[in-house]
């Protein structure tokens, strides 16, 4: 029987599986490593983007640090790094009772993206990164 509550469980599971896969690929040989370069951003490209957003994101300091503080935002970008569309992936959580802090966090992440744009994206390979997902996680900073 279809159980809507189980969808969340399935999503969580797929997330764990994908992270496990990622862990496995950490041990790939140099030859295999080429495929990673083709499909993702290089380390230096990723670092440049991260450094830019770190400077733009004002983390709301009043957030409860013992809660899940992950906001995932999917972006559609222009070749120059400016934003065509931004979408909060867990949007439904914003209006849930007791999750007021999540809305605050999501808004701060959106402000960071707006403040930073155009994003520091690679000059080539637009097809690779025209769709990008940013996972904003404040836990590390707030637990400090």
């Amino acid at each position: 029987m279809f159980d809507p509550n189980n969808i969340a469980a399935l999503i969580d599971k797929s997330k764990i599986e994908s992270s496990e896969t990622k862990n496995k690929t950490d041990k790939v040989t140099q030859d295999q490593d080429k495929s990673i370069d083709l499909s993702g951003l290089s380390l230096s490209e990723e670092d440049a983007l991260k450094a830019q957003i770190f400077g733009c994101w004002s983390i709301p300091l009043g957030l409860p640090y013992n809660e899940n503080l992950l906001v995932r935002i999917k972006l559609q970008l222009k070749p120059d790094g400016s934003i065509i569309r931004s979408e909060i992936l867990d949007h439904a959580r914003m209006n849930k009772p007791g999750q007021g802090f999540y809305k605050v966090l999501a808004e701060s992440a959106l402000r960071a993206i707006k403040l930073c744009q155009p994003l520091r994206v690679p000059s080539t390979g637009y097809e690779r990164w025209k769709d990008l997902q940013l996972n904003f996680d404040a836990r590390e900073m707030l637990e400090g």
């Binding site: 499909s39 993702g40 951003l41 990723e46 983007l49 991260k50 957003i53 770190f54 400077g55 733009c56 994101w57 004002s58 983390i59 709301p60 300091l61 009043g62 957030l63 409860p64 013992n66 999917k74 007021g100 802090f101 999540y102 809305k103 605050v104 966090l105 808004e107 992440a109 959106l110 402000r111 960071a112 707006k114 403040l115 097809e127 690779r128 990164w129 769709d131 990008l132 997902q133 940013l134 996972n135 904003f136 996680d137 404040a138 590390e140 900073m141």
Partner: protein, 446 residues
């Protein structure tokens, strides 16, 4: 036919697709959020009327100063210098030119309008997200003109809640013991003020020694300890009417009466037959119930916000430590285990943390730990400081600190200080006299 062929081609041809790239952003900028607090605009007629009633040149600008000051005190916001503002308040309130506010690096903007309507003060205010270019909140209040300071505090509470996700603590009051005179002959009075130090009022005359005032959950009543003919008495005081009532004379040393979360009981410690234990008194029928019964000294009880548990300090292990028990006195568990002596535990209104004073190697600390004793964090260290009391949102603690006297016995002072849970935002709370034993009220506008 051609359509079928093309469809087959589309299915069979390898399409180069890329997996969605994910980038983890785990660091950010912890500096306070830049906020522009525009003066509240006011028409000339209203301005003249308020000037006559409140003796303030521009009440719109005065209210915005309160908001600005409150936000600055939190350490979470950086109100920008008004000299840099490009848009006039009356226009900004109608339609902000977001480009102008972006130029001065504002991320949020507060605008508003004050008018005199039917003998009352009407305030409208709006909070804008400058980068998204949208209104985040718009509210209006109408009240008697004398409440103008409270309006500033209520606006701050709303803005704080919208931008941080948790309730504010600005429309609140602090009751404390005002102290004057030399250390050996102090005059101590009960005093009350707004959380920002304004509207200070003395509640007692100073004829008798007063100690440990504590608000009840509705803010109307305060319980405190006073000595009458050298005997400790627990009093109830109605702040609005000034009516005072003796709850009881208790034997021996009586300490720290405090309300239960429902306001129906007082919990305290007193010494019967020379042994200090914890007792409650039902305020309706005045029945006293013994909660602890142990040959050690049990003092400083404080209820959890749901009323199910009590934290207190006791020297039953040989040294003064913090314990938690069920509200009927059962299942007593020690929760502090690090080096030093622990005292004055107070349960956070959020229920997650317990604040305490710690004495270790001659220094006093104000700290917090989880209610199971884990995660101890010391927020501030000093020569002498104690008696933390929580802001209603459980984010800030107010306490008092005394200074050392010199060899001639000079230089003594007692002042109120506040510190937030990060431990970085420590501030002196201005009072007209020396001050000790603060207690923070819950939100008045709730």
């Amino acid at each position: 036919m051609l359509f079928r062929y093309l469809l087959l081609l589309l299915i069979l041809l390898p399409i180069k697709s890329f997996a969605l790239i994910e980038v983890d952003i785990t660091r950010g900028n912890l500096s306070p959020l830049p906020v522009a607090v525009s003066s509240l605009s006011i028409d000339q007629k209203s301005k003249e009327i308020f000037k006559k009633i409140l003796k303030k040149e521009n009440i719109g600008s005065e209210i915005s100063k309160i908001v600005e000051n409150n936000l600055k005190q939190t350490g979470l916001f950086n109100p920008l210098n008004k000299d840099a503002f490009l848009q006039k308040p009356e226009i900004a309130n109608l339609k902000p030119r977001f480009e102008d506010w972006k130029l001065i690096k504002a991320q949020a903007l507060i605008t508003g309008k004050v008018t005199f309507v039917d003998e009352k003060l009407r305030v409208e205010f709006r909070l804008w997200d400058v980068l998204a270019g949208k209104e985040m909140m718009a509210l209006a209040f109408t009240t008697i003109p004398n409440n103008w300071r409270r309006v500033g505090h209520i606006i701050t509470d709303k803005v704080y809640e919208r931008l941080t996700g948790e309730k504010g603590y600005f429309d609140t009051r602090i009751i404390y013991v005002a102290e004057e005179g030399p250390k050996i002959k102090r005059i101590k009075k009960l005093a009350i003020m707004d959380q920002d130090g304004f509207n200070n009022k003395f509640l007692t005359l100073g004829n008798e020694l007063v100690l440990t005032p504590r608000f009840n959950p509705t803010n109307q009543m305060v319980t405190y300890l006073s000595y009458f003919k050298n005997l400790p008495r627990v009093y109830l005081l109605d702040i609005e009417t000034g009516m005072q009532e003796v709850v009881g004379d208790f034997p021996g040393m009586t300490f720290a009466p405090r309300f239960s979360p429902d306001g129906k009981k007082i919990i305290m410690s007193f010494a019967q037959d020379g042994n200090s234990d914890i007792y409650t008194m039902d305020l309706e029928n005045r029945i006293v119930e013994r909660i602890t019964n142990h040959p050690s000294i049990d003092t400083s009880p404080s209820y959890s916000p749901d009323g199910k548990y009590i934290c207190f300090n006791s020297d039953r292990s040989g040294y003064q430590q913090i314990y938690v028990m069920e509200s009927n006195g059962k299942n007593v568990k020690r929760i502090s285990f690090k080096n030093g002596l622990y005292g004055t535990p107070v349960w956070s209104p959020r229920g997650d943390l317990i604040a305490f004073t710690k004495l270790h190697k001659g220094k006093f600390y104000i700290g917090v730990m989880r209610s199971d004793g884990s995660g101890e964090r010391l927020l501030t260290e000093n020569f002498y400081q104690e008696a933390p009391s929580w802001s209603p949102n459980g984010r800030v603690l107010i306490f008092y600190r005394e200074t050392k006297t010199n060899s001639k016995g000079e230089g003594f002072s007692a002042k109120l200080w506040s510190i937030d849970l990060t431990g970085y935002n420590e501030r002196l709370v201005e009072t007209k006299t020396d001050a000790s034993d603060p207690s923070w009220s819950s939100l008045l506008s709730n």
